[in-house]
């Protein structure tokens, strides 16, 4: 017993103060929201779009072929940045990638990413201070699940915000779905959704759940939950960093309202 107490003293208190203080520093090589500098783009060049494994880059006809990126498809890999001969594409350190509408994830250089706003009205009243979620994993690589799970560790301690994952859909206020929605999970996801009492919300986490991710177009998957369930919050990434997921959840329940410029420290 004395060893347990000694270990407790040594390991110390580790829960981060975010959002009352800046979030923990992200690694310098972290790939957050892509940055586009289309002034460097050569007319007629499509190297970035050609290199993208998921077809996330669309070249805008209205702007001499300037790239626009669908963050719902983006794997945050390095292919477009390496393919661009001019260095017009790269990744920034902005980890905030959660939106309320699917179309908000498609952004060009001059377009602002409309970050998720909070639930309103009755839903806000019901879920703002207590949100219980049932997680459903439906045909992905398990990385999103792992980084959702991280929010339950002592460092992040998600439950201090009244957000918890519960074992039964009957106890849940909504679903947090990951994975490209394999055909083999369609029925199970629908049944789980049906078992959640109304009103309920759906959160899609990761490129797979939003668009199919690396598996877009496979006959074995349904290209994400879009079309099967109505989604209230999209959190982009492959997988999204735990901080990106937390940011999205806190935005949804209105915990970040009135906090300006909560950004990751450098380093």
């Amino acid at each position: 017993m004395i060893d347990v107490i000694r270990a407790r003293l040594r390991q110390g208190h580790r829960t981060m103060r975010y959002p009352d203080a800046p979030p923990p520093p992200l690694p310098d090589r972290f790939r957050g929201r892509p940055r586009i500098d289309s002034s460097k783009c050569q007319v007629g060049c499509s190297d970035c779009a050609d290199a993208c494994p998921t077809g996330a880059i669309d070249l805008r006809r209205d702007l001499q072929g300037a790239p626009r990126i669908d963050l719902g498809r983006c794997l945050f890999c390095t292919e477009c940045a390496s393919a661009c001969p001019e260095g017009a594409l790269g990744y920034g350190s902005d980890y905030r990638l959660a939106v309320r509408e699917r179309s908000d994830l498609v952004v060009g250089e001059d377009e602002e990413l409309r970050l998720a706003d909070a639930l309103q009205g009755r839903l806000r009243k019901l879920f703002g201070r207590s949100l219980k979620l049932r997680q459903v994993s439906a045909g992905g690589c398990n990385a999103c699940e792992l980084d959702v799970n991280v929010l339950n560790t002592v460092g992040w301690d998600l439950s201090r915000f009244g957000i918890q994952f519960v074992a039964s859909p009957r106890h849940a206020d909504g679903l947090l779905v990951t994975g490209a929605l394999s055909q083999n999970m369609r029925l199970a996801l629908q049944k789980t959704y049906d078992a959640v009492p109304a009103p309920k919300i759906v959160i899609a986490v990761g490129a797979c759940a939003i668009s199919g991710g690396p598996y877009i177009g496979h006959s074995e998957v349904a290209n994400g939950v879009e079309g099967s369930l109505s989604v209230d919050l999209y959190i982009a990434g492959c997988p999204p960093h735990p901080l990106t997921i937390l940011d999205g959840l806190l935005r949804l329940v209105g915990r970040l309202e009135g906090r300006r410029g909560v950004r990751a420290g450098a380093g």
Binding site: A7, T54, N142, F165, N184, P214, Y215, E220
Partner: protein, 502 residues
Amino acid sequence: MIGNGRAIARSAVPQLPQDEFLGGISAAVAGGARVAAFFGMLDPDPDAVGLVVVLADDRNARLHLGRTRVRGGAFDSLTPACPQVHLFEREIAEQYGLRPEGHPWLKPVRFHSAYRRGSEVFSGKDGKGPTIGVTDFYRVEGDEVHEVAVGPVHAGIIEPGHFRFQCHGENVFHLEISLGYQHRGVEQALRGGPDKRSLHYAETLAGDTTVGHTSAYCQVVEALARCQKTPRAQVLRGIALELERLANHVGDLGALANDVAFLPTAAYCGRLRGDFLNMTASLCGSRFGRGMIRPGGAGFDVDAARVRDLLARLDLAERDTTNAVELLWSTSSVMARFEETGVLAGEVAESLGLVGPAARACGLSRDVRHDHPSGIFRFAHIPLSTWSTGDVFARAYVRWLEVQRSIDFVREQLRSLPPGEARSRVKALAPDHVAVALAEGWRGELCHVALTDAAGRFERYKVVDPSFHNWTGLAYALRGQQISDFPLCNKSFNLSYCGHDL
């Protein structure tokens, strides 16, 4: 016969008559070889199916390849004499519509349509492929026997799978594990590659084994392209692979503590897992190693400042991990739950062909880094960590031994990084060749096999995740156990659903 990470012409793989091929597998396994991969592939003749086997001779660090052609839609099952091929044969039946006659447990693996049109062995509605979760489940009958069915959706934040327990009171007679819910068609999608998605498929075969699977994929590509990696690239990859092992093993030790309600170690290891993941993120920006392993070497290099930072973080993480994990072994309530729970006998593990820490915890000396070393592991030898008791304790303790060895390795390699480029150019793949790569992921042996066509594209790409070998080991470990020990036993294996389902 080839070595790990090598390629040979397809014509050099012996094409054997069916009887000789099947007899050869049995004889090799009886002689101590393991079946690393056994799979079907389409044949130019639409009535025939090709079968390919990769046998691992661990004592001599050699891999033996053989192939045959089967006509008539069936072959004699090897499973009764050679149980370790049981799931490979079910997979061949499901994918290519070849029935292994005499297979004692012939059921779908992933519940999808056959790759050879009209050849379904398992047909569901309208002659299409099987329907997920609908199969002939094993059932024990009796007045006092009851059945517990769990999943595909589970109580935690984990992947989907279906488990059926045949119980007598609290005791489990038998556990049947039925998967396929994460099936997303990756092996089929790899055909015709390499293309711009291939590498990303490798990175997402199992998200917690990104470095391991991508290393095996790149080894296959490099072997087919005759690409030599620089020593620096080999070291960087080795460091990434061991950091992946560290994060997962430390996380598992915490999760095991959680399952016996010992919260101190659960809380500390949950955080420390993140410290190791963040070291990987320091290398390549991604906690899971996305972008780090690339054909020809490593996607990111490190400079002296980054090495110093990583070494400092490693020292801190080592100190805290030692403190957190050693609490387990000195706490009698933890040891009472770990010891003699979920015992798997060495002979069972051997006959089922288990790999990785689960096999080493049963006393089996098998580790790709030791038996079939490639890259940096040819020069830096990591001692094999084994234990003999085959219980939850052994699976936990082997992880702890490996954590210590991996920390030593990462520290040593960071201190002696050879100069040179991190990545070399990769040319086109050799046509009509076959390449095999084995890598020791944190769960065990990852086996990738690629056969190229006349244009140098993948005609068949086979992935064997360690979970494919090990799920049956979990089912066996649960026999005679209390059903309430299932979470603990399950966590002590911590197998992948997506790596199995592909």
